[in-house]
Symmetry: D2
Subunit: 345 residues, 4 copies
């Protein structure tokens, strides 16, 4: 163990994928949390830096094939969709009593109708489902006292829901048109034809057009469903999207600015760009969601950008952990204080 | 001169940029047209392959500083926007009497209101403007007999107009939401901050949101103006976009298919992808416009893709040249016959 | 069948990969050769444009599961390494009597010692081996009269051998140090971890350091073996490399220039860049091998660049076909005459 | 000012470029150092996050047009080459008495012959030159007591010198052949033709072949000059290179391993990869220099990789600062302790 002061130990299940890699990286640099066990059945026994070579010299130790230490303060389940329920059930059966952050989609949607429409699924563990809170902190935090289980939001869902939530009471979300593009890391660490370099480089490809499952989360947050064209783009990290809406008569840029500034006044991980759309690259590698907008001739375009592996997955999980464990919301994500570049004089 | 049979010589003004490069490349391989003079004031005297090194061994000769041979059959003016009028006027003053294809925006828009809205411009040569035909062949060809001057369409305009033209009589285009992304070659051969590799790679950036000038062309072709969010993406060649619309009650995928198939039945350079959206890469390097669509729950998404330097510029110019000179529409753009892979038996 | 005049029909075995794709593309545009059957067991029955979507509208017909028409003039075997022998044997057993171009490594190396060292292989069909000529035209053409079978060279081997062949009688090749990087298309169309976009983009990776099999071909051409560090780079098409040597006392840039100019005086697909090293991109998409050099303080650096799928595979195969069938060497690869941009006057 | 404990304030001259950006980023997260003034004449008055948008929400304050607070503990001069001398002279004239890290090449080379050969320069301030120590910590630290001025090494020089230094007493460095490729961020933040996206993407280009100025630094560190072919590659961050040498008779992989392990036993920012060459991407974004090697048939290939903006510039500057200010060498660069992923039990 390190000799630093720690407010908690965090173990990770399914730690050999890209989300696992980012979780380990963030937690290794966290000032108040320490890494517990990193589980990966397929990589058990391998040094962690074999699957994650950029962590050589930063993180030591090896993957283990199952959790043996149930005394940790939190477990993050980075399983693929459909495997979260079983992983969580097993964890509880073994007697684990701490915090759980589930990265899969399995505990996000509570509405049976949405589950049916988007997942074709009757939830296999509805009682457990009720104990999970949907972990979009800018909309739902502070979480109810006693919350121990968090369903971490999807990557597209995070960007779209944060872009639309402040508009939901002012506009008809069903008439909003969303387009968003994601990088190749969103498809995970396993090679596929859609991430084969010669076919991904220089290419854009739409998929799950109008039917993407993350729409269920957007519907849950905003109460309605926009159209959504998801696509994949030729880069590794980040989601960039736009939402186009008609602005009701009488509303202009000032109202839009007020809506967003009021919604996110207390949110250190939202950056607003009034009257311009955010670019993708400045948000890559950061825990922020950038949101900007333009108004012209009665139309409103809202742009949003996140790092799909961070605000769309790992940093949002740590943000949620911080909130559940009583730490500052941005601990491990931003410097302990906003740096002020200035003179001493 | 080459010893091949030629149906005409074509000279190029402003031949040192990316559009010039593509024009030279296409014409060098054209079975029935030959290259005349390649003019570039800034590169005059340089071998053509100095500015266009991939053409070494394919095209010989040097850039000249002005057109000296007025007997050619066609001149393509690859000037930047705003310089087309002066270039064409000068060409006519010197006594040139052949075909002109202007690549700039200067002769595209005839409606003074659109010119005012999108360009802030009273056209400086309205009489000349009337002699130009807007060169979107799939919509406007065959051109009126005697047409000698073509205003070659803009790149975004080509993709959007071809995607929307078949819908214009069935849907309210003003409620269609278009998003499209273009590669870095669309910004030309001169380095700029928006094409600086470290800032372009891994980045997406919106610009001219809701106000892009190519909307004037779309309005001219379809009679109405959609919303349009243009953006730049991290690749070199190609435009990829989508148009999202509500489908009126009673219409489904069959009608949409009929609309597109009827509109483009005789168009060899349109490729339709029913019930899927086209990808970008299969159209890069080709003279095609790919169009596909998806219908779901009353919404229609139309996807389109072109190579911005080819169907969005150079190959469309040659397509127009072919039509004006009485050659097959696809001469120099496709093999002389569709190749049939099969047995001899 | 097309109605164009044809000097021959060419069928392709294993036509669904990247080399197959390029062969089909080149042959579809060839002025004197026509496509016969395109065989792919795994894609049999699929339209050719399903595996090769950029060819929609250019090539029609479907993949077949085996060659049925043995009357074609040539068959190109685009099998993977190790499968060439069996494919050729089967072809001959069925009674095929035409030209064969084998793209695999199986018939390239005739020296049993090199075969043993680099492939660990006793050749399974040595009699057949003797009938194959190594198809590096700039070194070995004109081929012996009656040549019907060509072993098409490897991609790295093509670049390195062409860069070193003119030096072999002047320098000690065993003391030359070669480094070369290849794009992801060199790994083929099947997704692998080394071509997974998030791991390939922004990455460089060495492999087969000092032991790459293409050294056997270089040794065969130059009579000696340089050191060779192969690596993969983050792009799709092209090989770029350098060879560093000591220049014997008394030799300078003029001698080097003479060596290359004399070696390649009659080679239309070699482009020489005296006193500068070629860049990669101007050769991508072309059938050329670019070679340049720099001399400083007794050291010589030779640079070379090819498109790995063209001069490193498909266009070299067609170049070889042209030579065997008595067509101009560059038919289908360059315009029928070098275009001279000039005036008519 | 922040309320965190600080062991020093650090100001930056020329803070609007890429190296400035990385310096600000590293220092903003440093546990023991705080940012002082960020100077940029061209951006004075602008928020720092305007030039460096990814720092919005992390660093506040604006660029200033000159240093006003001379009480800071260190100043990093991120001027371009040739501007370092004047910047340092001015700083001293104003009475500044603290530590200086100069990022330019101006104070690196002390040998007049090397300066003449590689820079064509008689040093304008030889007395000042003598006060600067060349800041390659793995070779030269601990620095002489009282050292206050550091010349921070060049990016290529860092990688090559660290790869060759352990070999210098065993091999003839003049017969070593080095090839290395750098990303586009190495060319700085100003757009140039060599970093224009359409010409950089998919391209590799050699430059300063056999004459690159960083050879002067390599010669200073190793006592001899290898051949060096520098090239630029299509990525943003990182340098990847190889050095090829003949291994004297009697030496094998074990000796090579011993040489490197002994040389860098106490170096936390060197990662060794015995018997394999490091890849580029795992080092991008990290402060490490990765070094690996392969031995075959009497030849040794050493591979090296660094992030050109970090170990090749900004993180090495902070590493040097840490050493001069008595902080742990890796403060602000690695977590305070190596994280051990393990169980509590």
């Amino acid at each position: 163990m390190t000799d630093r002061l720690t407010n908690g130990y965090v173990s990770i299940l399914h730690g050999a994928g890209y989300v696992g890699r980012e979780l380990i990286t963030v937690l290794a640099h966290h000032p108040a949390l320490s890494l517990g066990e990193i589980v990966s059945r397929s990589h058990a026994g391998d040094p962690i830096s074999k699957a994650h070579p950029h962590l050589r010299g930063v993180v030591e130790g090896a993957f283990v094939d199952r959790l043996t230490d149930l005394s940790v303060d939190a477990v993050i389940v980075a399983a693929e969709h459909g495997q979260g329920v079983a992983a969580v059930q097993k964890l509880l059966e073994t007697g684990y009593e701490g915090v759980i952050i589930d990265m899969s989609a399995d505990f996000r949607i509570h509405d049976p109708a949405l589950l049916k429409t988007y997942y074709g699924w009757d939830h296999p563990a509805p009682a457990l489902l009720d104990e999970f809170v949907y972990g979009l902190p800018e909309v739902y935090a502070p979480y109810p006292s006693g919350t121990k289980f968090i369903a971490n939001p999807g990557c597209f869902a995070t960007g779209i829901a944060l872009a639309l939530a402040p508009l939901a009471e002012h506009l008809d979300i069903t008439r909003v048109s969303v387009t968003a593009l994601t990088g190749a890391s969103g498809s995970g660490a396993r090679p596929k034809s859609t991430t084969h370099f010669p076919d991904r480089e220089g290419n854009v490809r739409a998929y799950s057009v109008l039917t993407h499952r993350h729409l269920a989360e957007v519907a849950m947050v905003t109460g309605a469903t926009p159209t959504f064209v998801p696509a994949s783009g030729p880069w590794t990290r980040g989601i960039w999207g736009t939402a186009v809406a008609n602005l009701p008569a009488g509303f202009g840029p000032e109202q839009v600015r007020t809506w967003f500034e009021e919604a996110y006044a207390a949110c250190p991980l939202i950056r607003l760009w009034p009257d311009e759309l955010p670019e993708l690259k400045p948000v890559a590698g950061t825990p922020f969601c950038d949101i900007g907008w333009t108004v012209h001739a009665g139309h409103l375009v809202v742009g949003f950008a996140i790092d799909n592996l961070l605000k769309g997955a790992a940093s949002q999980a740590v943000q949620n952990l911080n909130l559940l464990l009583g730490l500052p919301e941005t601990a491990g994500l931003l410097p302990s204080a906003i740096t002020q570049a200035t003179s001493l004089a």
